[in-house]
Amino acid sequence: MRPLSADRWLPKLVLSPTLLASLIFVYGFILITIAMSFTESRMLPNWEWAGIDRYVDLFDNDRFWVSAKNLAIFGSLFIVISMAVGLFLAILLDQKIRGEGFLRAIYLYPMALSFIVTGTAWKWMLNPGLGLERIVQQWGFADFTFDWLVNPDKAIYTVVIAGVWQSAGFAMALFLAGLRGVDSEIIKAAQVDGATLPTIYRRIIIPSLRPVFFSVALILAHIAIKSFDLVMALTGGGPGTASDVPAIFMYQFSFSRGQLGVGAASAVMMLMTIMAVMVPLMYAEAKSGNAR
C-alpha cells in the first residue's frame, strides 16, 4: 500500500491535542475527583478507601444544606426572573422602537462585566449605611430600611438582584434574536386571520421560541450552578454562612479547611445537579426536535 495522503491523517492530528486534553483534563479529572470523594483525603490527597464516609460528612453538614437551599432559591429566582425580564424587554424592543440599537446595547453591557465587578458595585449600593437605604431616607421616608445585605434571611436575595441585573440583558438579546427569526409570513397570515398583537405573541411567536427558551434556560442554569464569583464579591457567603452556595462550600472545604475529600464529594454533587438539570432538558429538546 502507498502511504496515506496527508489529508487522511491531518484532520485527526489537528483534533488530537483537543481530544487528549478533553480525555485527561475533563473526563480523567472528573474520575479522579470522584475517586477522591471516596477517600480519606484531608490536607493532601490520601488514597485510602473511605467508602461513602465523605458523603456522610457532607450530608451531616448543615452548611452544605444551607448552601444547597441557597442554590435552589437563587437558581430558580435568577433563571425565572432573568428570563421573564429578558423576554418582556425583547418583546417591547421588537415593536419598531426608535433607538433600539442604543437601548439594546445599554441592556446588554452588564454582561461584559466580571461578576466580581458586579458584586463590588452592588455591595456598595446595597450597603445599609450609605447606600440605597440612605437615599430613600433622604427622600423623606425616614424609617425605610433595606438591610438585606447583612440580614441572614435576606442576603441570598441580594445575589438574585445583582445576578438578574447582570444577566437579564443577555436573555433579552437571545430572545430578541429568536423573535427576529420568526417567519414574518406566519405573522402576516395571523394578522390576516384577524389575530390581535397580544394573541399573535401568545399563540404563535412565543411557542415558536421553544428552542430559544431552552438555550437561555440552559445557559442561565449553568451560570447559576457555577455561581461563585458573584457571591464571593457580594456577600462572601455571609453573613456567617447565610448566603453560602455549593461552589463556595467546595472552595472553602478544599482550599481553606483542608478537607479535600469533602470538597471532592461536594464537587461531585454539583456535577450530579447539573446533569440532573441538563440531561432531561436536552433529552426533551432532542425529542421535540425530532418530532418537528
Binding site: L10, M111, L113, S114, V117, A121, L174, G181, A247, M250
Partner: protein, 282 residues
C-alpha cells in the same frame, strides 16, 4: 398601537435602561468623590468636587492583601494571561471546528459530543486534580498555568462556535477546492479564513470576556504574584486598613472592568451576534 400605549412602551424601556445604567453611574460618581463627600452626600449625586485621587490609589497604591502597589501589576498579569489564551484557544477551536465539519471521519461525531459535554461541567469538579497537576509541572505562580487552564477549558466553547459556523459552509465548496488541488491547510487559509471573520470576532470577544472576567481559576491556581485583576480586586475590596475607602473600591472595579467594557463598546455588535449565533443554534 395608539399614542398612549406607545408612551408607556417608551417609558418602560427608558426606566429599564436607567436601571441598567444606575450601577455604572454610581460606580463612576463614587470613584470621583472624596470620602467626606461620600459620607455627606447622596449615593447617586454627581461629585461636587471631582478628584482622581481614588483612581491613582486604586491603580498603584491600594493594598491587595499583603502587597500595597495597587491593581497595576495584576492588570498586567491579566493582559499577559488573557491575550495568549484567547488567541490560542480561538485558533485551535477554528481548526477543530473545520476538521469536525468538513473532514469527518469515523468517530468524529462522538468526539464532538464528547467535547460538547465539556461546556457543561461545573469547573469545581476538575479543580482539585488540576491544582495538583499544575503544581507537579511547576506552572503554579506563573501566568502559564492560567493560560494553560483557560485554553484547555475554553476549547469546548471555541470549537462549538466554529463548528456551528462552518457547518453552514457547503461541503461542495471544500470538495471543489480539493479537486482544484488544495489540501487541508490550504483550504483552511484560502477558502475558509476569508469568510470566517464574523465568527472570529465573536469567538475572540467571547473568550476575552470569559477569561478576563474569570475569578475561580485565578483564585485557585494563581500564586500571589500571578493573580489576575479580578482576584486582586476582590482582595482590594476585602482588605480593610482602617476606614473603608469606597471611592478606591469603585475606581478599582471600573479599572478591572475597563478592557471588557472597551471591547464591548468597540465591537458590541459582534458580541450580540456571537451570543445569538453560538448559543441559540448550539
Amino acid at each position: 398601537m395608539n399614542a398612549v400605549s406607545r408612551f408607556f412602551l417608551y417609558a418602560i424601556l427608558l426606566l429599564a435602561a436607567l436601571y441598567a445604567l444606575a450601577p455604572l453611574w454610581v460606580m463612576l460618581a463614587t470613584s470621583f468623590k472624596s470620602l467626606d463627600e461620600i459620607r455627606e452626600g447622596s449615593l447617586i449625586a454627581a461629585p461636587q468636587a471631582p478628584t482622581i485621587a481614588a483612581w491613582g490609589k486604586a491603580w498603584s497604591r491600594a493594598c491587595t492583601g499583603v502587597r500595597c502597589d495597587g491593581l497595576q501589576p495584576f492588570f498586567i498579569n491579566s493582559l499577559l494571561m488573557t491575550i495568549p489564551a484567547v488567541l490560542i484557544s480561538t485558533i485551535i477551536g477554528a481548526l477543530n471546528g473545520y476538521a469536525l465539519t468538513h473532514w469527518k471521519f469515523r468517530g468524529s461525531e462522538v468526539l464532538f459530543t464528547m467535547l460538547l459535554l465539556g461546556c457543561f461541567i461545573p469547573f469545581q469538579v476538575v479543580l482539585l486534580p488540576m491544582a495538583r497537576t499544575l503544581g507537579a509541572i511547576g506552572f503554579v505562580d506563573s501566568v502559564f498555568g492560567l493560560i494553560f487552564v483557560h485554553v484547555v477549558y475554553g476549547l469546548a466553547f471555541t470549537t462549538l462556535f466554529f463548528r456551528n459556523y462552518y457547518i453552514g459552509v457547503p461541503g461542495e465548496l471544500i470538495k471543489a477546492a480539493r479537486v482544484d488541488g488544495a489540501g487541508f491547510f490550504t483550504i483552511f487559509w484560502r477558502i475558509l479564513m476569508p469568510i470566517s471573520m464574523p465568527i472570529f470576532m465573536v469567538c475572540v470577544i467571547w473568550q476575552f470576556t470569559q477569561i478576563w472576567n474569570d475569578f475561580l481559576f485565578g483564585v485557585v491556581f494563581a500564586g500571589s504574584d500571578s493573580q489576575p485583576v479580578t482576584v486582586a480586586l476582590n482582595n482590594l475590596v476585602r482588605t480593610s486598613t482602617g476606614v473603608k475607602e469606597y471611592n478606591v473600591d469603585m475606581a478599582a472595579a471600573i479599572i478591572a472592568a475597563l478592557p471588557t467594557l472597551l471591547v464591548y463598546i468597540v465591537a458590541g455588535k459582534y458580541f450580540v451576534r456571537g451570543l445569538t449565533a453560538g448559543a441559540v443554534k448550539g
